[in-house]
């Protein structure tokens, strides 16, 4: 009975010891896991904080870059506006229309700058930054377009002025012809002037339509502008140069006709003859534009 009791007590004691050790081990293990959990949470918090900091820095960087992009563009557009306002050949409505277009872009960019400065999301700021470029294409499309329109309008004014002169010169040639003078050379020169003007007007009309068609949505504005620049160069170097050469040849011809005219003894004719001498000299200096 005592031995049996001893075994019983020994078994219970062993089991108790084993259970206690297990419990101690388990408790010890739980304590280590908690620390790891806290460390994990801390690490995650730190990572989130760093990510937020990085994002804030990137946002500020985008805002700063955007401000620079906008400032440069507005400065460039203001230069264009100054060029436009100082033009003496553009008609008032042409000038007003182009100036309004430029002002609209300046205004749009200014509004965009205000929006970007207030952006709090990096994604939104990046989208707005792209809008500075894709919404305006100031360098690739807008400024070249307005510049080319200014040139074309100016050339159109020149052409109109010369065109208005042609019938008056024709009248004078007719008058000389009625007096029995040989005006065949003068008539040929004037016909050439008219032909050049026709070419110029047709080129300008075609080019202006093409330039006006270019917009922000045009895929490659440069591809449209390149041939127009060539056309303008052609008008300057060839067509207008020919007209100037025609005028230069007409002046001595008129001079000869007026000298041989009995009416040239009048004071007004003398004045014309005097200026004709000077003009003949200067006519020799006329060179086609490079």
């Amino acid at each position: 009975m005592n031995r049996k009791c001893f075994y019983y007590v020994a078994t219970i004691a062993t089991a108790g010891i084993l259970l206690t050790q297990g419990a101690i081990n388990a408790l010890a293990q739980n304590s280590a896991g908690g620390q790891a959990l806290v460390q994990d949470v801390n690490r995650m918090q730190n990572q989130a904080s760093r990510a937020a900091q990085v994002q804030q820095t990137q946002l500020q960087s985008v805002i700063n870059r955007s401000n620079t992009l906008i400032t440069n563009r507005i400065g460039f557009l203001n230069n264009l506006l100054s060029r436009l306002q100082s033009d003496t050949r553009l008609l008032a409505d042409e000038k007003s229309s182009l100036a309004t277009t430029v002002q609209a872009d300046i205004s749009g960019l200014t509004t965009l700058k205000t929006k970007i400065d207030a952006d709090t999301s990096l994604e939104t700021a990046r989208a707005d930054e792209k809008q500075i470029i894709t919404g305006y294409y100031v360098y690739a499309m807008f400024v070249p377009k307005v510049r080319l329109l200014i040139v074309l309008d100016n050339l159109q004014t020149v052409s109109n002025n010369v065109q208005a002169l042609v019938p008056q010169i024709q009248n004078l040639i007719n008058t000389e012809q009625a007096q029995g003078k040989d005006v065949s050379k003068l008539q040929a020169q004037l016909n050439d002037v008219s032909a050049q003007l026709q070419t110029i007007n047709s080129e300008i009309a075609k080019d202006k339509a093409a330039v006006l068609n270019v917009s922000v949505g045009t895929a490659n504005p440069g591809a449209t502008f390149a041939p127009i620049r060539q056309d303008i160069a052609q008008i300057i170097r060839v067509d207008l140069a020919k007209i100037r050469a025609d005028f230069a040849q007409m002046r001595p011809l008129f001079h000869q006709l007026i000298i041989s005219n009995p009416r040239s003894s009048t004071p007004s004719a003398k004045t014309a003859t005097g200026s004709g001498t000077t003009a003949t000299k200067s006519a020799g200096n006329i060179t086609p534009a490079q």
């Binding site: 894709t134 360098y139 020149v158 002169l165 019938p167 300057i236 014309a272 534009a289």
Partner: protein, 127 residues
């Protein structure tokens, strides 16, 4: 009595020829009113004339003469604005040539400016 009769006999009857018919009092006042009316009318007409004439004269003296066409509002006069004659044909052609030269120079300068524009600044690469 006789004396009176004699006196009366010798006394020549006073005969006053009727140079003008006696005017009734009503007609006289009418004429007077007519005269006064005429004078008043002349005075009023004169006053009005002086008033308006003086006003017109003052206005024309005060207001500056405004040219029909403001020369500064015109961007450029057409060469055809003046009639081309033998006397001015040479000067006209010369002026036109100079104007063309200026326009050509400006257009050339503008074309150069256009070709200098750096369109790569509108590249979205890296954004």
């Amino acid at each position: 009595m006789d004396e009176n009769i004699q006196q009366g006999a010798t006394q020549t009857p006073i005969f006053q020829p009727a140079t003008s018919a006696p005017v009734p009092a009503g007609d006289r006042s009418k004429s007077l009113y007519l005269m006064i009316g005429l004078v008043v009318l002349i005075l009023v007409a004169g006053g009005l004339y002086m008033f308006f004439y003086g006003k017109i004269a003052t206005n024309s003296a005060l207001k500056p003469v405004v040219p029909a066409i403001n020369p500064t509002s015109q961007t450029q006069s057409s060469p055809a604005a003046q009639i081309v004659t033998e006397a001015n044909i040479d000067q006209t052609l010369d002026n036109t040539d100079k104007t063309m030269q200026k326009s050509i120079n400006q257009a050339t300068s503008d074309l150069n400016d256009v070709s200098k524009i750096d369109s790569t600044q509108d590249s979205t690469n890296g954004l």
